[in-house]
């Protein structure tokens, strides 16, 4: 460290305080109850609940001052910490970590420990009153207290640090296993963050053992203070279950390792470090545990993963909510009825999504009533499943079911619709015919959307009377789960249509990204290039197993597993389209053609091994070129770097951020890599392959 050994952590912290920090103040007030006087500290950054309290250096120093004052006041028997309405704190001020570098991160880590420890070890009992959101350091401040209460309706308690490329470094990694045991610590510190950042509600957090008492929201603070007073008077005795420090601890670590392997492929240093910390917490004392957290945070600050995670966090938190290039939302027209051309599986999935999110009439159409009815029956069955699971009540189920209908007469179906989406066979002539038919019966302003994954929007609209109302509206499978929606602007698409598409995407709770009309848009183009490279490499002699082991921690699953999930026929079709557009870069594997011809649904059999019939269909090159996994990865990523660069040059998307957001939300590329282009920059591949970086 670059500091003099005798300078106190508080002096060092003062040196890194920046004016940019939105300071969370710590107001101390005395609350006198019979037999107990409590110094109540309120954390409040002076903003409303949309800007939660956070801890940067100045905020921690403010809290330190309040704690010192409470400890020094002889009239005060105990300290309690709570937050402004609805919020305890959302954790560290990430900007103080993002820009700081290792020394600053170490200082912030040590400062958090130094301040929070005064709550647990300052000589007076302390109470963490979790009155709402408590994430990361916001939960850790309460964990340091002698006792905790939680509001039953608190929306989110958790330690999401690992998701951000960090570890719970203000005591969480040591305190949680020592409070609730290693297994629950693994759930809180690893499993939940790696499961799309899952958090616990207040009641669940109490049941989990994170708090000693739970109270309703109507009088949480009053009841918490009265409870605290009764603890102080000795009338209430807090008992916690004994932590199992034997085999259960080993089993938990084993479970953690399994989770980390499955979710990160060992590619997330933070996840691995968190496992280490939990393992060490069994035998280490508080000093050692907290010192290990300081070291871990300092180490994390030097990983690319941290910056990448913070970058991804910013993408999904901010860019996803304000899509780049979307027209002013005031131009959007209301959508009061939706028509769907087709009643197959995709059409039915779309109907379910539209009816649940928009709650407007949705009409499925097909050539005959039987097929239309089948689509309706699918939606009804899915609604019944939601009802059976208790996700919706009977009234809601009745409402949603009544909104879905099946029709053959397009005039009846679409005459008063504002938004018609087609999900018919992926063939230009078919789609053009469909739109021409629909145009005859709809209003001049009705949006015509296509769920095409690869065809040209401009061409599809070309022969219509109103081509300006056509827009691409490309979902990802499974429609209900995948957040991404690619909104494709054709040459003629006007702003009102586009604005309506974005407003509809938002109402559907999708992450909408604007794409220029181009072959296979964003995700399928990049995945097509990905499969082209991998397919060529395998066809040239590298074993499937080697290729499948090359992308751990980058892609959500090995390439040939992904190909099986997508379906070999769809993957083939995508690559054929792309080869048609860009013959020199894209590749159609003869082996894949044979596999599709043989109607094989997957490369792997149910036993997890390569299907022998598939194996027999693979290419057998005369002079095989066998690459290592690293070579496969580097070559493939170089191809992806080239493709992403070309896409930006062609104006397919506004910025590399859109590529990364699309790959995270549409293809499951890793959050801690920052999607695709961020990772290509960090690994040096973008410069090597294209001569420059993306960022």
């Amino acid at each position: 460290m670059s500091t003099t050994p005798d300078s106190s952590i508080f002096e060092r912290a003062k040196a890194i305080v920046s004016d940019a920090e939105r300071v969370t103040q710590a107001h101390l007030r005395t609350v006198s109850l019979p037999g107990a006087t409590i110094g109540l500290i309120t954390l409040d950054n002076g903003e409303d609940h949309t800007k939660p309290n956070t801890f940067g250096p100045a905020s921690l120093l403010a809290l330190d001052e309040a704690i010192d004052a409470a400890l020094a006041d002889e009239a005060i028997d105990a300290i309690a910490v709570t937050g402004k309405p609805f919020i305890l704190a959302a954790g560290a001020d990430l900007t103080s970590i993002q820009g700081g570098g290792p020394d600053a991160v170490r200082t912030v880590a040590e400062l958090g420990h130094a301040v929070f420890r005064k709550l647990g070890e300052g000589g007076k009992p302390s109470f963490g009153l979790v009155n709402g959101l408590a994430l990361g350091g916001g939960l850790e401040v309460a964990l340091h207290c002698t006792y905790r209460t939680v509001m039953d309706s608190a929306p989110a308690l958790g330690l999401p640090e690992v998701m951000l490329g960090l570890v719970p470094g203000w005591g969480g990694a040591w305190l949680v296993p020592n409070l609730v045991g290693a297994d629950k610590a693994v759930t809180l510190i690893l499993e939940n963050p790696l499961n799309q950042g899952k958090t616990l509600g207040g009641q669940a957090a109490y049941d989990f053992g994170l708090a000693d008492a739970v109270f309703g929201g109507a009088d949480f603070l009053e009841q918490s203070l009265l409870w605290a007073a009764s603890v102080l008077r000795g009338e209430t005795v807090v008992e916690r279950p004994e932590v199992d420090r034997g085999e259960a601890w080993d089993a938990a670590i084993k479970r953690a390792e399994g989770i980390v392997a499955a979710k990160t492929g060992g590619a997330s240093p933070a996840a691995a470090k968190a496992v280490e910390l939990i393992a060490a917490a069994r035998d280490s004392d508080r000093d050692a545990g907290f010192a290990a957290e300081d070291d871990a945070l300092e180490a994390m600050s030097q990983t690319a993963e941290l910056l990448a995670s913070l970058y991804s966090f910013d993408l999904v938190q901010k860019r996803a909510k304000r899509p780049a290039g979307a027209p002013d939302r005031s131009l959007a027209r209301p959508v009061t009825k939706v028509g769907i051309v087709g009643a197959g599986l995709m059409a039915s999935q779309l109907a379910l999504l539209f009816v649940r999110r928009l709650e407007v009439p949705v009409v499925l159409t097909d050539l005959d009533q039987e097929r239309a009815d089948k689509g309706v029956a699918y939606v009804h069955a899915e609604i019944d499943k939601l009802l059976a699971k208790g996700r919706i009540n009977q009234d809601k189920a009745n409402r949603h079911k009544a909104l879905v209908s099946g029709e053959t007469d397009k005039q009846v179906a679409f005459g008063d619709a504002d938004f018609v989406i087609e999900a018919v066979f992926e063939e230009m002539s078919v789609k053009k015919t469909v739109f021409a038919d629909v145009e005859k019966v709809v209003s001049a302003e009705c949006v015509l959307a296509t769920n095409t994954s690869s065809l040209s929007i401009t061409e599809m609209a070309a022969d219509l009377e109103h081509p300006e109302r056509v827009v691409g509206f490309h979902f990802f499978n499974p429609v209900a789960v995948m957040p991404l929606l690619e909104i494709v602007k054709g040459d003629a698409t006007d702003d009102a249509t586009l604005a309506t598409a974005f407003a509809t995407g938002k109402a559907l709770k999708k992450t909408s990204i604007l794409v220029k009309d181009s072959p296979s848009f964003i995700v399928n183009r990049l995945l097509g290039r990905f499969m082209s490279e991998v397919g060529r490499i395998v066809d040239e002699g590298t074993p499937v197993s080697v290729a499948d082991n090359a992308f751990a921690g980058i892609a959500p699953m090995p390439p040939f597993v992904l190909l099986s999930l997508v379906g070999p026929a769809i993957a083939l079709h995508n690559n054929e389209t792309l080869k048609g557009a860009f013959p020199d870069r894209f590749y159609v594997s003869p082996a894949l053609e044979r596999i599709v011809e043989a109607r094989k649904p997957a490369y792997y059999g149910p036993d997890g091994n390569l299907d022998p019939e598939v194996e027999a269909m693979l290419e057998e090159p005369a002079s095989p070129v066998v690459l290592t996994a690293e070579e496969v990865r580097e070559k493939t990523l170089a191809g992806l770097a080239e493709e992403a660069r070309l896409m930006l040059d062609e104006g397919v998307v506004a910025a590399p951020q859109d590529i990364d957001l699309a790959m995270i939300t549409g293809a499951g590329f890793s959050f801690w890599n920052g999607g695709l282009t961020f990772m290509l920059d960090v690994s040096g591949i973008s410069e090597k392959a294209t001569g420059k970086r993306f960022h």
Binding site: A26, H27, R29, L33, L40, G216, A218, D219, E222, L225
Partner: protein, 404 residues
């Protein structure tokens, strides 16, 4: 169908500590105040299944903003009572909570309810008296109501005209005694058991906890009151010192059919005898308790001599003294407001009725020799309200003094 008369009992009552307008509740919502009272009632009476509450009547004088939206219903929902429990709002100015009690009590006596919650709230800091009112122009053009009626301080000055023997000295002495009695009651722990603490938000200072009545001025002396301004009439008698202030607070009481209370194991603190509301000249509204009490006594077949415990709301000292003078009771009679009153504790308009009842219940508990007591208050726009209660702890006719 035959309809047996059912006895209505006051099971329990609670209130928030009262606040000074712009004081401890400056950043606390009005509905939250009454919600905390409802929850405290339910917590204190765990043998009452929440679904057995048949009605929630909540009074507020100004029913807008956080005192609007059918506050009896919304407060019930926000307090966590089952959705099946209905609620409604009531307004009878200062006697709102008292009317909530008499309305629901009537429903219980009639057999429509077994158990009801009745209370009131007034956050005068957020909703000053008269906020948003639109008086009918006929009030002036046809001289239907003297304009003084809309300014409570003027009605109090008018009451001094009616009772010329009630001097400034007497009202100030009364006010000082009220402050002293309230402090003594706090010191003896007679008020706190029925208070529900309220967390007080302050963006500047952080959360605090209100546990006592903020308006109290225990050091008040005759001398300190003598110099106060008389804002309602030059060289008049009514000052901030001999009147209740501008206050925030809420109350709630649990009422039940007596048999139901016994069945559910609920305490019985008072038994309702009868009640009455009577109108008087609006510009002398402070006289209201006199005819209201006379009527209630008549309905009950009692005389004023039967009443051995009084809780008279102290909107103005003159109004209490007019009542006492009318009935021939001394200014410092020990049976009247023994724990002090609104001059010290505060008078958040529609909430005060239940505070009087809480304190009468405390008197009953401490004085089993007392059989009957009353709660009475004056009401804006010229009314009085009186509720006569019987002490369930009364030990028969063996005590001193006669009884019915």
């Amino acid at each position: 169908m035959s309809r047996p008369q059912r006895e209505v009992v006051f099971v329990d009552g609670v209130r928030t500590p009262f606040g000074k307008a712009k004081g401890q509740y400056a950043e606390t919502r009005a509905d939250d105040l009454v919600i905390k009272c409802i929850r405290e009632l339910m917590r204190r009476n765990p043998s009452l299944p929440p679904e057995r509450v048949d009605e929630v009547a909540v009074a507020a004088t100004t029913q807008i903003g956080d005192q609007g939206l059918t506050i009896g219903r919304t407060a019930a929902l926000l307090a966590g009572l089952p959705q099946s429990v209905p609620g409604y709002s009531i307004d009878r100015m200062c006697a709102g909570a008292m009317t909530a009690v008499t309305n629901t009590a009537s429903g219980i006596a009639f057999g429509a309810y077994d158990v009801a919650i009745a209370g009131g709230v007034e956050h005068m800091g957020r909703h000053p008296m008269g906020e948003g009112v639109d008086p009918n122009p006929r009030i002036l053009s046809e001289r239907i109501v003297n304009p003084d009626a809309l300014v409570m301080g003027k009605t109090a000055e008018n009451l001094h005209d009616r009772y010329p023997t009630i001097t400034k000295q007497r009202v100030d002495e009364y006010a000082v005694r009220s402050q002293q009695k309230t402090q003594a009651a706090y010191d003896a722990g007679k008020i706190q058991p029925d208070l529900v603490p309220v967390a007080t938000r302050s963006a500047e200072a952080g959360w605090g906890l209100a546990t006592t009545d903020e308006p109290m001025r225990p050091g008040t002396t005759i001398e300190s009151l003598a110099g106060l301004k008389t804002p309602f009439r030059s060289h008049g008698n009514v000052t901030a010192g001999n009147a209740a202030g501008i206050n925030d607070g809420a109350t709630a009481a649990l009422l039940a059919d007596e048999e139901t209370a016994r069945e559910l194991g609920l305490p019985v603190k008072m038994r309702l005898v009868t009640y009455s509301f009577v109108g008087v000249e609006p510009e002398v509204m402070g006289a209201g308790p006199i005819p209201a009490t006379e009527k209630a006594l008549k309905l009950a077949g009692l005389t004023i001599d039967d009443i051995e415990a009084f809780e008279v709301n102290e909107a103005f000292a003159v109004q209490v003294l007019a009542f006492l003078e009318h009935f021939g009771i001394a200014d410092d009679d020990a049976r009247v407001n023994p724990y002090g009153g609104a001059i010290a504790m505060g008078h958040p308009l529609a909430s005060s009725g239940v505070r009087l009842m809480n304190q009468l219940a405390r008197q009953f508990e401490e004085r089993p020799e007392v059989r009957y007591g009353l709660t009475t208050m004056c009401i804006g726009i010229g009314m009085g309200g009186t509720v006569i209660w019987e002490n369930p702890h009364w030990q028969g006719s063996t005590n001193e003094g006669d009884s019915k």
